[in-house]
Amino acid sequence: MTYAIQILAAFFGSMGFSLIYNTRRTKMLISALGGAIGWGVYLLVTNFISDSVPLAYFIAAMCITVYAEIFARIKKTPTTTFLVVGIIPMIPGSALYYTMNYAFQNDLQSFFDTGVYTLKAALSLAVGIIVVSTAVHLATAGIRMIKKRTNKSMTEE
């Protein structure tokens, strides 16, 4: 039940952000759904596969990037539109809050622990995006090369 509420909240939070960035109509719904799917994947991984939070962030970030790249091609719009919004529920806002709260309470041990946790979460997000984006770059470059070659052989014939 809590999970259902969380996913629903992620959906509406992402929808709010896509509206803040002025996305409209179908694109707004697609990006809001992206946020919900990303958080769903995160919950699946933490519950069934591994306890490791960075791993869950990594896999969820990969899923969102794939989702964003696919819909960017379908809707012929920059990938950023769906990626920025889809990643929002995973931006470590609460971790940042707790980090600064510990700094303020002078609890240096907890400050250090949550600080490292925040960094880890942010890094695994980044790596997840990097892996998929690089794969997409390589794939499009490969497809372009094959197309060029087939065009060439056709004109030669």
């Binding site: 509420i5 969380q6 909240a9 509206l19 002025n22 996305t23 950023t80 940042l96 303020f104 990097i130």
Partner: protein, 253 residues
């Protein structure tokens, strides 16, 4: 099209895309495609988040150069989509310079959501994230009201042109103060959940995501600039929170 006019057109297009939140590689790529479509024999372009340098070669081997300083950003993904479409249309149909300028002006004139709608959007977002991070319905309502107030503060900040560090300190301080007052008035609320819901509104999401995408496509300088911007904003948020907590919360430090 005359090279000087082409230069101005593509600079306008690139500038607008950068303002709307495009990645560096997209801006550089668009400029190169458009100039190539008009048959420009040589194009040299360098873009970072705050400036565009562009040199175009003439048929006779002479060069024209222009640059454009970008001082403000206003993330608007709908407009970005429109500019992206426009650049593709330009490459296909090669319109006149006046037509291109007209199209750019048309997109530029598109209005974002009006202030009351903006308040509702901020309220929805802050409320949803308060619930998302484990708050109850009371926290959600409090966060929603505070979110709407933040939208009004952000609106006035955008009018005054003060630097973004100060703006974020102020927003975060007001947010924390209001959250503390809410908890004083309605003891059922939890200050931390309300504050987290509000903080999400201030988080530099676009700067973070774009900095990663810039670094991947090899634009290290811009990636670092945006990353530094995101870190400074995060520090400013923390500063505003700590400032109010020390004064009213009576904590350590």
């Amino acid at each position: 099209m005359q090279t000087e006019k082409l230069l101005k057109c593509v600079l306008d297009l690139g500038e607008q895309m950068l303002i709307c939140g495009a990645e560096i590689s997209r801006v550089e790529d668009t400029i190169k495609r458009v100039t190539a479509a008009y048959g420009c024999p040589g194009t040299d372009v360098f873009v970072i988040t705050s400036v565009i340098f562009l040199s175009l070669e003439n048929e006779d081997g002479t060069c024209v150069t222009g640059n454009r300083r970008v001082t403000k950003y206003d993330t608007n993904l709908d407009k970005l989509h429109a500019y992206n479409d426009l650049s593709r249309k330009i490459c296909r149909t090669l319109p006149d310079e006046s037509d291109v300028e007209e199209e750019i002006a048309k997109i530029k004139a598109q209005k974002p959501y009006p202030l009351p709608v903006g308040c509702a959007i901020y309220a929805l977002t802050a409320g949803a994230f308060a619930v998302f991070f484990g708050g109850g319905w009371r926290d959600a309502i409090a966060a929603a009201v505070i979110g709407a107030i933040i939208r009004i503060i952000v609106y006035f900040q955008s009018k005054t042109k003060v630097n973004m560090v100060f703006n974020n300190v102020v927003s975060s301080a007001v947010l924390t103060l209001l959250a503390f007052l809410t908890v004083k008035a309605f003891p059922g609320c939890e200050a931390s959940k309300i504050i987290i819901g509000g903080i999400m509104l201030l988080m530099p999401g676009v700067a973070l995501t774009n900095s990663i995408r810039d670094v991947i496509s090899g634009d290290i300088v811009s990636g670092m600039l945006r990353f530094a911007e995101a870190m400074i904003i995060a520090l400013a948020i923390a500063a505003g929170y700590i400032l109010v907590s020390v004064v009213f919360g009576g904590g350590a430090i």
